[in-house]
Amino acid sequence: MAYRCSFVPPHVLDHIAKVQAQQSAEPSPAQRSAVVSAQFRRGRRSTDALPLAQQRLTAEPESVPPGLTVPKPGTAGRLVYDDLNQWTFDVTFIRGEGDPAVGAQNANDAYDHLGTVRAYYKDRLGRESIDNAGLNLVANVNFGVGFDNAFWDDAGLRMVFGNGSGQVFKDLTAGVDVCAHELTHGVTQFSANLNYTNDQSGALNESFSDMLGTAIDAYANGRDAHTHNWLIGDEIMADDLYGEALRNMAEPGTAFENPLMGRDPQPRDMSGYFEPADPHIMSGITNRWFYLISQDLGLDAATVIMYQTLQNLWPNAKFADAATVAVAQARILARAGLVPRQSPQTVRGAARQQGFW
């Protein structure tokens, strides 16, 4: 196995990235170096992990039934696979880009949600798919048996949906926020590449997925910051849990309380922060930061600020780093007339309210 050593220590790269992230809307060379350096460090920890450039980027099906379309690599085309309730990926290719709807509702929902997320990133944020280079979008439906989850497979570069057990969750394709959240983990992988660890970097990784996920949910349903419900996962709850949700970005800690799920553990702000903690717990603190910013600036402005922040952060960034970069990006965007003039003050004020400024 070949090992690579970084000449410049990671903490030095991070520091340079932090300084440069405040000067430009474009990610700096130091930020990209910090991201790539972290990818190699992760690759050393797992013998299965490959550098991104060596992973499958085209998602070609092994066999293509007559009449189905396989999009060309790098065209941000969609491919939907039916895993036939097996615990393996890409079992049967059932719908490609532009193909007519199939019989299964969940496959069509997955196809539509991929399209909604792709359109939002392109039209609102100018991003070409997950990697900003037209990566084809792959969805697997019917993964496993009664699988109560959905996820971004960071090694296979695919989105995977379970059917849900029917007790806690129904089919995970039922809400666009699921798809938007998980595909944003892919965007994070190709931008800040925040460490998925039980600290603030991991919480930020989760939170950016909730921020973009909820923004796309609101966009898909024609809502704004004041009419959106700010709930994550409310549409995938099983019938007996109707009215519950997984996370409440407006009021973290109030999304659920029932015997099947327990009680929502998210603290509202830094007064409830502790470490180590699962990224899904502490993400509520920065989720509410985003909610507060949205209430003042509107959802579109808040989202573009956070998207630009994600492009300029680095793998071990903390909440205060995110706030510093977000303020800098808000100033750059305000100067360009893309967000309201008071955006830097709103971003700072919300971070102070949440306890990390």
Binding site: W152, D153, H280
Partner: protein, 85 residues
């Protein structure tokens, strides 16, 4: 042998646990020992932390959804059926 499962990660991020007394055949026992020696990867995927309570001490294996070997599926499925908050 007593085995404990703790789940986390994925979209839902729900943390649930289950403990079962189960017979581990030799190949599954070997597999769990092998998995226990691997470094957990950093990923937002669903994550399973398995603790085998051996007479000699607890042995922990942590893996993500896409790393689950087929031979481990039956035990994992059984544990997931019993998992509670």
């Amino acid at each position: 042998m007593r085995v404990t499962l703790e789940t986390s990660g994925g979209f839902t991020g729900l943390r649930r646990t289950a403990t079962l007394d189960t017979d581990l055949d030799e190949s599954l026992d070997d597999l769990l020992r092998h998995l226990g020696s691997a470094e957990p990867s950093s990923s937002s995927q669903p994550r399973y932390r398995l603790t085998v309570h051996r007479p000699t001490g607890d042995q922990v294996a942590e893996l993500t959804e896409s790393e689950v070997p087929a031979a481990l599926r039956p035990l994992l499925a059984e544990l997931l059926r019993h998992a509670r908050p």
